[in-house]
């Protein structure tokens, strides 16, 4: 396929952009360029206690959601699917909002979010359990319906919440990277998921043709499908706990990657992860510098940056 750039060059450019964004996020902030002024007494604390965890959280959450989105789109063979379609983020949100509503400590918020994500995941899998051609649709429908129910609970919680809690609840829902817990842990999880998945990327390519064809081509369909669902769910849960609701990137990044490097997941999956990471890092950088010292919700900026980019690429693709 004649693309303007070979996939490997595109991957290299994405990586370079990622490193650039990572460094900019470290050194750029509400105080302007911190570098080169290493003499300021707070420099060390700002760099390593505020900005580094935050940019790591952005990188990790973006990459995790892109990974989960790529998997879910292959598994459901539905281009509109995103990691939130399984209701996982809804579960996490209900957990986190309850914790905020009760005025619990930050670490308990994360525990509640984790429990909520896992509960939603188990519920979807239990309800959609079964075999056969109908499984895929049933899983999608179960996830969508559960997500709507959880959305209703979120609305109720917001309506019942006192004004003092409302603001932090809204920020959580819009995607908030300022209070990411243990980004190193999420980063480790990301690395592990990536290493687990990469050997199976060609099997994922074959799986997009349907189960009977994939099985006849030697793919262990059953094992691959459930393994991929599990990895996608873990990735989504980790991402939601790290960064709140920034799900749009899970829909966007896989499509952007396919438009840029083609549909071969051996290249498209790393490309989607880099794109997701870059988009969230960029959104977060803008969120905290555009009208500094005030902060904007990263999730909203993500959609504002991502949507035009995606539409432009889609338009270019349509004209080819």
């Amino acid at each position: 396929m004649p693309r303007p750039l070979s996939p490997w060059i595109t991957l290299g450019l994405l990586l370079a952009a990622g490193i650039g964004l990572f460094c900019s996020s470290l050194f750029l902030g509400s105080t302007g360029w911190l570098w080169p002024s290493p003499n300021h007494p707070d420099t060390h604390a700002i760099l390593f206690e505020l900005r580094l965890p935050r940019v790591l959280a952005a990188f990790t959450a973006g990459a995790l959601l892109a990974l989960a989105g790529s998997l879910i789109q292959v598994l459901t063979r539905n281009p509109l699917a995103d990691p939130y379609i399984l209701g996982i983020s809804g579960g996490a949100a209900v957990g986190a909002l309850l914790a905020i509503l009760f005025g619990l400590a930050l670490w308990l918020q994360h525990v509640f979010a984790t429990v909520g994500a896992l509960a939603a995941l188990l519920l979807v899998i239990a309800l959609a359990h079964g075999e056969g051609a109908w499984t895929r649709q049933r899983l999608l429908l179960t996830g969508v319906v559960l997500a709507s129910a959880l959305g209703a609970i979120i609305t109720l919680l917001l309506a019942l919440a006192p004004d003092t809690a409302l603001r932090s609840m809204l920020f959580w829902l819009m995607g908030d990277l300022s209070s990411a817990p243990a980004p190193w842990l999420a980063l480790g999880g990301l690395a592990l998921l990536f290493l687990l998945l990469m050997p199976w990327t060609r099997d994922l390519n074959v799986l997009t043709r349907g189960e009977a064809s994939a099985a006849s081509l030697g793919v262990a369909v059953r094992e691959l499908r459930w393994g991929a669902y599990l990895l996608a769910a873990i990735a989504t849960a980790l991402a939601v706990i790290t960064a709140g609701s920034i799900g749009f990137v899970g829909l966007l990044a896989p499509h952007l990657a396919r438009l840029l490097v083609g549909a071969d997941h051996r290249v498209a999956l790393p490309a989607a992860m880099l794109l997701g990471a870059n988009l969230v890092m960029l959104a977060d950088l803008c969120a905290r510098t555009l009208i500094a010292p005030q902060q904007l919700p990263a999730g909203a900026l993500l959609a504002l940056i991502g949507a035009p980019l995606f539409l432009a690429l889609l338009y270019r693709e349509g004209r080819r």
């Binding site: 043709r209 189960e211 009977a212 099985a215 006849s216």
Partner: protein
């Protein structure tokens, strides 16, 4: 000659209905089996079972002398290929990328497609009249071209036993006969083949053997001429056909004429 695939006492069920009972069959190299039967008689179910992608409700299948379920999936896919009825493309974009998927079982997990793989794929595309289509995008193909791409993908897989579920769907008349000729050439070169068909005349002219299902668990199998008789076809389809001889070849025509 030993069997490629041996079928022992196979029972098939679908949706609580018994489709096939106690099927014993042996597909040998060089045999081209036509699979005929009315809609819902179990042709697709049987082909998927023989390909090892569906479990039989009872019975055993052997590849040479090894039980089919014991064969590793990758090894099985190197030997047995299946063309599904509605072969849907994946997310690939170009014709060449799509056909390369057929090489999947031959490429080791961490390897790339070699120039040899690409050569096989290009040859398969050429055999199906898709030479020069390599960089065409999938959505620009017609229904018949898609079908030929699916066939090329199966040829690229290069299995010893080819199982084809209605391979002639969407093909124009000339391509139907051309593809049949090619498939027959493959069996003459020592491969085994079973394909489901709807036209008894095609089975009559291209298949060495026929398996006729009647949808109520009974079946007739054997050499083409022995199985394809007006009476057997009437029992299977509930439709009268008459064998007409013309210049040394024979054709089934509806009896009485529907017009």
């Amino acid at each position: 000659m030993t069997c490629l695939l041996r079928i022992e006492n196979l029972h098939l069920e679908q949706g609580g209905k018994t489709l096939l009972e106690a099927l014993n069959l042996c597909i040998r190299p060089g045999e081209c089996w036509g699979l005929l039967g009315r809609n819902g008689a179990g042709k697709t179910t049987l082909l998927h079972t023989l390909a090892g992608v569906r479990q039989p409700s009872q019975g055993a299948l052997y590849w040479h002398d090894q039980a089919l379920p014991q064969l590793p999936a990758r090894t099985r896919a190197q030997h047995i290929g299946l063309l599904t009825q509605d072969a849907s493309e994946g997310f690939e974009e170009s014709v060449l990328e799509a056909a390369l998927v057929g090489r999947h079982p031959h490429i080791a997990r961490f390897s790339q497609a070699s120039t040899e793989d690409e050569h096989v794929v290009r040859q398969a595309l050429a055999d199906c009249g898709l030479e020069g289509f390599e960089t065409r995008r999938l959505y620009s193909l017609s229904g018949g071209e898609r079908r030929r791409l699916a066939l090329a993908t199966l040829l690229a897989q290069n299995p010893r036993l080819l199982l084809l579920d209605e391979p002639l769907n969407h093909l124009d008349l000339a391509w139907q006969w051309r593809i049949l000729q090619q498939l027959r050439a493959l069996t003459d070169a020592g491969r085994g083949l079973m394909l489901s068909l709807h036209d008894p005349n095609m089975a009559l002219h291209f298949c060495t053997h026929v398996l006729l299902l009647d949808g109520s668990a009974t079946w007739v199998a054997g050499k083409t001429k022995a199985v394809l008789t007006s009476n057997n076809l009437y029992a299977a389809y509930g439709f009268r056909l008459r064998l007409v001889h013309d210049n040394g070849s024979a054709w089934f025509v509806p009896q009485p004429s529907p017009l």
